[in-house]
């Protein structure tokens, strides 16, 4: 089982999930902030994510089938264990996507679809956060199957990570709005972004204290010599980056607030990876134990190495085509 493709697939899958979080994160975040602005500003916000949300969401499919293909045992244990958060996330995403399409057509029902879009975004984000929390806490496993109950996910820790992700995505969303808009809406997003940043930092701190207290292996990983010395730069860099985000939220008109918020996600992601490595079903199976055979991983890798760069190129290109500020009150030219 110790074949050499596992690290490659770990990187690809990690990258895929991270891209999903960064991209769908900002459009979900825009959805979370959506309920707090004026109707005219809502149009601008919608237009700012319009060409992108569809493509962003497809990364979720890549993440799920990538996990199934590269680490099927992890998929077969984790997904049943978070039966309800996944269900709620999917239904919220469906609702949100539908609301996106229909609000423009059914003007009579627009306020209803607006509410569906906003609430759908919040619920989907919260559910994703709970999936993350349950995953970090680990599951009850017997042999190759999840042996707990479908309601095991509902823990205080999962609630915390759910809230954390809502603040996090809203931060990404405000960074995106700063990038894509001007005037009062941009100014508003600067304030909203700072509120979210404070929220995110509180949650990161809480998670960072909670996990080592709850799990001995995580405590050992971070607080034993020389690990604590080697890992020291991670929390320090996170703190420095937070200060940088705070300042860029105040004055930058371009990419800085958004990109640096993505950086904050990257550091948090790394932190979780450090805590759990090399487990993919925490407490039970390592990446190698859960991996599919080399033949399966190799077969998919060939195509992935060709197609993934192409996909990244397209994604970048479509962002380039629709670059620039979205103006309030101006529709199609």
């Amino acid at each position: 089982m110790w074949h050499s493709l596992v690290p490659i697939w770990t990187v690809i899958l990690g990258l895929g999930i991270f891209i999903y979080v960064a991209l769908d994160g900002f459009d979900l975040g825009v959805g979370i902030l959506y309920g707090l602005v004026t109707p005219a500003q809502r149009e601008t916000m919608m237009n700012s994510i319009g060409p992108f949300w569809d493509g962003n969401e497809t990364w979720l499919i890549l993440g799920s089938v990538g996990l199934l293909a590269a680490f099927p045992l992890a998929f077969a244990i984790i997904i049943p264990a978070v039966y309800f958060p996944i269900l709620i996330m999917l239904l919220a995403l469906v609702f949100r996507g539908v609301a996106f399409e229909f609000r423009f057509k059914q003007v009579r029902l627009r306020s209803l679809w607006d509410a569906a879009f906003c609430i759908g975004s919040m619920i989907a984000t919260f559910a994703q956060g709970m999936v993350l929390g349950s995953f970090i806490q680990g599951f009850k496993v017997e042999g190759r199957i999840f042996a707990g109950s479908s309601f095991d996910f509902a823990t205080p820790f999962a609630l915390l990570t759910g809230v954390a992700l809502m603040f996090g995505y809203a931060l990404l969303g405000s960074g995106w709005i700063i990038l894509k808009t001007e005037g009062p809406l941009q100014l508003w997003s600067r304030h909203a972004g700072r509120v979210c940043l404070i929220g995110v930092l509180c949650c990161i701190a809480a998670v960072s204290i909670w996990t080592p207290l709850a799990t001995e292996t995580i405590a050992k990983r971070w607080f034993s010599w020389p690990n604590s010395f080697i890992l020291m730069p991670l929390p320090i860099c996170t703190l420095l980056l937070a200060i940088y985000i705070w300042r860029s939220l105040k004055r930058d008109d371009g990419l800085q607030p958004f990109l640096s918020s993505v950086g904050l996600f990257a550091f948090s992601f790394l932190g979780i990876a450090v805590s759990l490595w090399p487990m993919i079903v925490p407490g039970h199976y390592t990446l190698w134990e859960a991996a599919s055979p080399e033949s399966s991983q190799a077969f998919l890798l060939v195509g992935t190495l060709v197609l993934l760069p192409v996909i990244l190129f397209y994604t970048g290109w479509s962002y380039w085509v629709f670059r620039g500020k979205v103006r309030e009150g101006i529709g199609y030219h």
Partner: protein, 460 residues
Amino acid sequence: MILDPLFLSRLQWVWVISWHILLPAFTVGLASYIAVLEGLAFFTGRPVWTRISAFWTRIFAVSFGMGVVSGIVMPFQMGTNWSRFSDTTANVLAPLLAYEGLTAFFLEASFLGVLLFGRKLVPPWVHFFAGLMVAAGTLFSTFWILSVNSWMQTPAGFHIAGGRFFPDDWWAVIFNPSFPYRYVHNVTAFYITTGFVVLGVGAFLLRRGRSGEEARLMIRMALNLLIILVPVQMVLGDLHGLNTRAYQPAKLAAIEGRYDTAARSPLTLFGIPDDTTGTMQYAVEIPALGSLLLTHSWDGEIKGLNSFPADQRPPMAIPFFSFRIMVGIAVLMLLVACAGQILRMRGRLDSSAWFLRLCQWTAPLGFVAVIAGWVTTEVGRQPWTVYGLLRTAKSVTPSLTGTDVAISFALYILVYLIMFPTGIAFMAGIVRRGAGEGSTEPAPIEAGLPAAPYVQQAGE
């Protein structure tokens, strides 16, 4: 029985996949149609092609969006409700599913933006190219998904170790015995489904006196497609049936309504199957025709369901009836396609009110046939998920209780019953506005998008 997690999971799967498959059944054909229209617009420069293309692109955008959101649900179903199936088969099937996501979904999702929003932003040839890529993407998507499904029907190219499947030969896995038949049969079905929708919409517009030029072109294009594809589909269906006889004889017995093995088998047109006694009640039969159709010989033997062990038989009634619905619709379709051509040769196509009304009524037939065909092949595979090797009962997630699945199933029902009728009403609204001049301009192009965003010009 009511709160059995296995039974409820199966119902939930039927519910989410049946709604989902309606969208590919339509968008696969529509994407190719739009690519043809874009090509005509590009090479002839006639604005009417652009108008028709823009009209169908608006509808495509909505159905594709619904396809994406209902499609995201599907891979997760395999984890939430069918985790044993996933653990057992993933080594073989998951790479194919992943390829579907990689090659097709992303091609579609990325070029789709250009197709929908880019008409004024990119040069015409890029727009045409984007249309081609979206069409290719839908066909690739179908390729991989049907390869997975076909492998579950006729598994090949693997070995079993520790209770799980391991791949030996990817070529044999992908091009497993039933895949080529299933693929062409399905793609043709999707094209025909779209053809009937285009025909019906064209007829509707013509009867309402709207967008006459566009409507006449739509009707003619659709009829030309259908007069070729409907007969071709009947031949393909026959070939697919022969393949089923070779590899899944129990399914074939259920389709044919045969409980007893016999040479010179009659063709059962109708009857009421009774699985408990193993007999067909009230059978209406044509002698020996069954053997002729299936073995292409009067004396060919057809195995009956009773010759299989009781725990390896599919239920007969569902495949038996759904197959007859599918074939009945095919006959009806052939009549419509022929009638259209005859009227056209006599020059009475556009003035024949009864025919235009008929076209409107037959517009949804393709969807019914697609669902009926799927029900036939999937129920006919029972009691297996991987034919002959993995039982459906052993595929379900062990940790689920009946209550869990009852809750999730109820929520899926609720959300889909809001989403799909709204989407259909929404597309009907686009149809009502017509495809003529003036219908395209105020409501530009939309992919879940309103007015496309204002894009800052270079140097501004």
